[in-house]
Symmetry: C2
């Protein structure tokens, strides 16, 4: 074993960073044995230098992250600051000064992954980011390496723990959205401003990263269709249950049937209770992968938290350190397929639509005609009503989102349709 | 991209080998793009050269596997023959002649993994075998690489599809073992001689491999305690259900509480219905991993079959080819921890024991005294009986297997205990 240590610079020392530093210290002998050389924490860049950080030598702490990554003797930079800047500039500076980079930054990788990979390649360095998607769950390495000889056709994932906690609470307790959100906030599962989670921004960044890796192409954040889950109601859960389903916020990345394009989207959807994703409870994450040869795989675990995220960061750190010792780099970006990303209108799936209608003869015929005119085939209809008010629940066969959108627009114009109570996609069948 | 192809020799062209060859042909452009060079099937060693093999150039087929691996121009040997010999000699010969090796051979790796890794290291070549455990499920790479910065404490897996199919059928239909086995055989899930599956030999080989990788140590096949599942009855399932459990054949690899030793075992066990492994149906496999930082992870998918196994083989093939192009080798064996493997008697778990007893006063007191004398603490007792016959179901707190064994031996000597109807461990709580 080499005795000269590999030097690691840590950018950020919050929940994840402090756990990375702690494990680097407490498990130093194991890490050295697995890498083939000791690793040394050579510097820690923070915003608040005066904060006491247990187990971290104050002499290593600096507020000058730029100087740290420019030192020239750093082998690996671990970036756990988050956000676009200064993380982006620090990472490119790190490559230019000879370091490889391990990042947990989903927003940055989703937005600028291609440019960052290019910068890493230019300098012959590694860029690893297992922690950016689904925390501790090994997902990027399995997709990029284990399935490198296979053809992935679909990725269906619960990749946001906050929203899964909220939806699980609504499902099990019958609570409404606000009540479940309040509980999640009180328990620390939701942030004071939950927008990034509940509006699907966080999941969309992960969907962009997953789609790119799964399909060997580039999917930009803007390419991901995004709908949040704030409109999901207790009534939707009741409807789902009647269908033998539950509701999850899903990130869905699909290859078109002809293989020539891909789609990526985030939205709440009904999935059958028999689907493995339906049993993913509380704040857990899970990603279901369908590939040509392997068939159906699922990866399950904690999607966030200091320790789980640190586990993923350290796994990458070991790999990157080994690569440096061996004078090699790991598999970088693989975007050779260069597939176009189709708009949401071309996505084909099934729909569950609840309509409030007038309770009089002929309404069902009118509604059915609208579906038929738009080429959307109906699977089942359930009609119920009293006192002049009635509801119609229509479940369709597979249809394009554009066709469904046209159908709903036409339905809203019918005199007999008082309102469209909810539209939800049905996935995982 | 390099234009000179990497040459692959395929040893064995059965269900898995023919699928590997097919995908290498049909997905040649994708594989080349992902590797950075084309891969060429340079030879296929078979036992029956006259069999027609669709898509394989007859000129590549040979019965002389030894000559093929000795050619000297082979970059990677893919071994999908199975069994100990001639596979072992062919693999070591391949290393000596400059090839890296991808194998799907669980029996060989479990028995001789250390020697084969040493041979690979001696010649600076790779030995990869993702397909040897749980078919297509990425498991060896996640354990060896993704969790390389973490400390795995426990691996709990359903790693044999045949037995899971049988147990799932018994659970869902109420069938007995023989009836469920007959169904599995008729559907092609069980072989004509199912011994390797139902007696746990197959799972034990996988447990040895998983324990070695998870704990960075060596676990020999003989170190794995093995009990088959042929004695599991419909009555056991009824008992499990009363406990809120089902029964699975589990491979369990654990680090002792003090971290200084490990255990590996295969046996049927009750697990709570709320445990993610309880929902693994039919012939699917799943492995649950508990680690210090990442927490609880699960990997799920098809554990066998030509295409899924080929997917795992090809993922390894891409990795090994990349390593060759980069002049590097991947992570080899990591057995630095050199932990002793403790015998089954030191395993600590809970037990569900059914006793047939005389229906008279004082029996429970006698039985409880025996448990207490052996230091086995009782969690719950359920007593039922009629017409002079009664049964006692005892569920214990955690106790060592040795203490439980002593307890059962003493119980059998009691006049009032007519028989020990079943003993089953309770896991996953």
């Amino acid at each position: 074993m080499r005795t000269r240590p590999l030097k690691v610079a840590l950018l950020g020392c919050g929940v994840v960073g402090s756990e990375v530093a702690r494990i680097m210290t407490t498990h130093a002998a194991d890490l050295a044995a697995r890498i083939g050389a000791p690793v040394e924490l050579a510097g820690v860049a923070v915003r608040r230098p005066d904060k006491v950080r247990e187990g971290i030598d104050p002499a290593l702490v600096t507020t000058d992250a730029t100087a740290l990554v420019k030192r020239g003797d750093i082998d690996v930079v671990v970036e756990v600051i988050g956000g676009i800047e200064p993380a982006r500039t620090l990472i490119t500076t790190a490559f230019a000064h000879g370091a490889s980079v391990v990042s947990a930054n989903k927003a940055l990788i989703a937005q600028d992954g291609a440019a960052l990979h290019a910068a890493a390649d230019e300098h012959g360095r590694d860029l690893y980011y297992e922690a950016a998607v689904a925390g501790a769950i090994p997902l990027i390495r399995p997709l990029r390496e284990s399935l490198a000889g296979d053809k992935v056709n679909r990725v269906l994932g619960i990749v946001n723990g906050t929203t899964n906690f909220i939806l699980d609470a609504m499902d099990t307790t019958g609570a409404g959205y606000q009540e479940a959100l309040d509980e999640a906030t009180a328990l620390g599962y939701a942030e004071a401003d939950p927008t990034a989670d509940v509006e699907g921004f966080d999941a969309a960044a992960k969907a962009a990263i997953l789609a790119g890796i799964a399909f060997h192409t580039r999917v930009r954040l803007d390419d991901v269709h995004r709908e949040g889950m704030t409109e999901v109601t207790a009534a939707d859960f009741a409807s789902a249950r009647r269908m033998g389903c539950t509701i999850k916020l899903l990130a869905i990345c699909e290859r078109a049937a002809d293989g020539a394009s891909v789609t990526a989207r985030v939205h709440p959807a009904m999935i059958p209770l028999s689907h493995p994703l339906a049993n993913v409870r509380e704040a857990y994450n899970a990603v279901f992968v369908e590939s040509e040869a392997a068939g159906q795989l699922m990866f399950y675990g904690p999607g966030a938290g200091g320790s789980p995220t640190a586990s993923a960061v350290l796994g990458d750190l070991v790999a990157v350190c080994r690569n440096r010792l061996g004078g090699a780099t790991g598999p970088g970006e693989s975007a050779y397929a260069a597939l176009p990303v189709s708009p949401m209108g071309e996505v084909v799936t099934r729909y569950h639509i609840s309509l409030d209608v007038a309770d009089k003869p002929g309404v069902l015929a009118q509604v059915a005609t609208v579906f038929a005119e738009h080429g959307v085939s109906i699977d089942t209809v359930r009609q119920s009503g009293k006192d002049g008010e009635a509801s119609l629940v229509v479940v369709t066969h597979r249809a394009s989102d554009a066709a469904l959108g046209g159908t709903v627009e036409a339905l809203r114009k019918l005199d007999t349709v008082r309102g469209v109570a909810s539209i939800m996609r049905v996935e995982g069948e």
